[in-house]
């Protein structure tokens, strides 16, 4: 049996390789477009290819975390693509010392920066789970997907000021929790 539009999610979740081929066939243009847009300042085709590969591998390894239909699937893989591309961007920018639209200058000791640098992120995820659902969403969009406050505000139908305010309060809340982790030496 081969993967098609109705069964590919199930097949992907049960680890069938042809499902991975199916999503490459159908979504490569989109995924590559996302990675390319974020990483284009580096003019490094190899980096884009590596990132695309990494995105598909993440989709493969985390397929079981997905919950929904094919329309939601498209949104889910776009989140992963953006997340991975931003991750590559941050690492590369660090190496190349390039500044850009995607990076907002942050103070060197900022809590989210410390936390984001931890690739495991499990402690951070634990911290995020203590936020309210709406704040979780804002926080992930802002720091994992590199979205600007204006864009988040537009998506969620709120004002920029209220988004900034929520981010400020989240950071404050996280800082209290994070300092606990930091002194324990387990986070970064």
């Amino acid at each position: 049996m081969k993967s098609n539009a109705t069964n590919f999610i199930k097949r992907l979740q049960s680890g069938k390789e042809d499902a991975l081929e199916y999503i490459v066939d159908n979504y490569l243009a989109l995924i590559k477009g996302i990675a390319y847009k974020v990483l284009s300042p580096f003019k490094n085709e190899g980096m884009v290819d590596e990132c695309v590969n990494d995105i598909f591998l993440s989709i493969w390894h985390h397929a079981k975390d997905f919950d929904g239909d094919s329309a939601k699937f498209k949104s889910w893989i776009c989140s992963i693509a953006k997340f991975k591309a931003i991750d590559y961007y941050r690492k590369a920018a660090k190496n190349n010392e390039v500044l850009s639209d995607y990076l907002e200058p942050t103070p060197s000791n900022s809590v989210e920066k410390d936390l984001l640098q931890n690739e495991n992120r499990s402690e951070l995820m634990q911290l995020i789970s203590q936020l309210e659902p709406i704040d979780q969403q804002i926080f992930i969009r802002k720091f994992f997907l590199g979205e600007h406050s204006e864009d988040i505000a537009r998506t969620l139908g709120k004002t920029k000021a209220s988004i900034d305010n929520r981010i400020y309060r989240c950071k404050k809340k996280l800082k209290v929790h994070a300092s606990h982790f930091l002194t324990g030496g387990s986070v970064v």
Binding site: E45, G46, E50, F56, D65, K91, P133
Partner: protein
């Protein structure tokens, strides 16, 4: 606790915001090939998880392959120049029109269409890329009898991969017996054989190509210089110089004692010339079957025409890992170094290797 991938279920992305970019059957095939290789490798070795060390080579060592731009039959096989890249993945994708030799050649016989796409001859070997359209599924590869001949002589190999429903791409390498300045190529395919055990009939047909090629403006210079430091040795094998870039191939060997103390040992090279230019690399890839030997290939921007010496500085990085990627079943998928890791790391610089460029 939810991981980030579960959180993504709750984010509604504005799909319209994203722009698709054009991808070809080749691009898809290339990504699939790399992915399947990754997910099938149980003991995936994540050495050099840095962005500069771009994706791993596809597992072929070839020193002088170039992606050629292509004009003939473009509507049928849109991005044929990528055949070289598909096989080689060495990043040499820039403008090679000056050394490219697009060959216009299609032979359709017995339900199988063979198209010759590009050819290049560097004085040592002839490389011909081709596309084969079949009328049925014939396995993941094809066996082809008949190698392109250089001046009616030659030994070589074919490598064929299936890239789409009934479409295959191939690369033939023929080794030249002499260093000719130009060659006549004659290629007759005697028969094509399916890769399926259930399909063992030789398919014969009239697929015959002949064309003339000039030696490309590429210099392959053997170096074979060796340096050792603290149980790590590096050997610079050769340099390939083309009009728009040059590529250095080298190997590293690490002693077992080093690997007792360190998780990872990498040798990178920095290259400058006798006039003081430093060369930036846009592609770096490598592979190895074990922790001891790795073969690397690094591609740089065009060499300055007045440069007469290359100065190669090998740089060693010894590092320990502190990151782990887990599979969903809890087993370890790969280990690597975290960004801003505090785990031990040590960098060493080797003595310079100076290469006189043959002109």
């Amino acid at each position: 606790m939810k991981d980030i991938y579960k959180h993504f279920n709750n984010l509604e992305m504005d799909i319209e915001e994203f722009e698709e970019i054009e991808v070809s059957a080749f691009d898809k095939a290339k990504v699939k090939k790399e992915l399947l290789k990754n997910i099938r490798t149980d003991k995936q070795k994540k050495w050099k998880k840095s962005v500069t060390a771009a994706s791993l080579a596809l597992g072929l060592i070839t020193s002088a392959l170039f992606t050629l731009s292509f004009t003939a039959n473009a509507e049928e096989i849109p991005i044929i120049g990528n055949i070289f890249k598909y096989f080689n993945n060495n990043g040499l994708t820039d403008d090679y029109t000056e050394i490219a030799s697009p060959i216009k050649g299609i032979a359709d016989s017995n339900g199988i269409k063979v198209t010759v796409n590009d050819a290049i001859y560097d004085g040592e070997k002839l490389i011909v890329t081709y596309t084969i359209d079949t009328n049925r599924y014939m396995g993941e590869t094809l066996h082809i009898n008949g190698i392109p001949l250089i001046e009616n002589k030659g030994n070589g190999t074919h490598e064929v991969s299936r890239i789409d429903e009934n479409k295959y791409v191939g690369k033939a390498i023929t080794f030249a017996e002499e260093n000719y300045s130009s060659i006549d190529v004659d290629w007759k395919l005697d028969y094509i054989l399916s890769d399926l055990t259930t399909d063992k009939e030789r398919i014969t047909g009239d697929w015959h190509f002949s064309f003339h090629l000039n030696k490309a403006n590429i210099l392959v210079q053997n170096i074979q210089q060796h340096k050792v430091l603290n149980g790590i040795s590096v050997n610079i094998d050769n340099v390939t110089i083309a009009p728009t870039s040059f590529q250095i191939n080298y190997e590293q060997s690490i002693s077992k004692e080093i690997l007792n103390d360190w998780d990872m040992a990498d040798v990178d090279i920095e290259v400058s010339d006798n006039l003081g230019h430093r060369y930036k690399s846009n592609y770096h890839s490598g592979f190895g079957n074990d922790d001891i030997h790795l073969t690397w290939s690094k591609t740089f921007q065009a060499l300055h025409p007045d440069a007469s010496k290359l100065i190669i500085t090998p740089k060693i990085t010894l590092a320990n890992y502190d990151g782990v990627d887990d599979n969903t079943n809890g087993s370890v998928q790969g280990r690597y170094r975290l960004v801003n890791s505090k785990a031990p790391i040590k960098e060493l610089e080797m003595e310079q290797i100076i290469v006189e460029i043959e002109k």
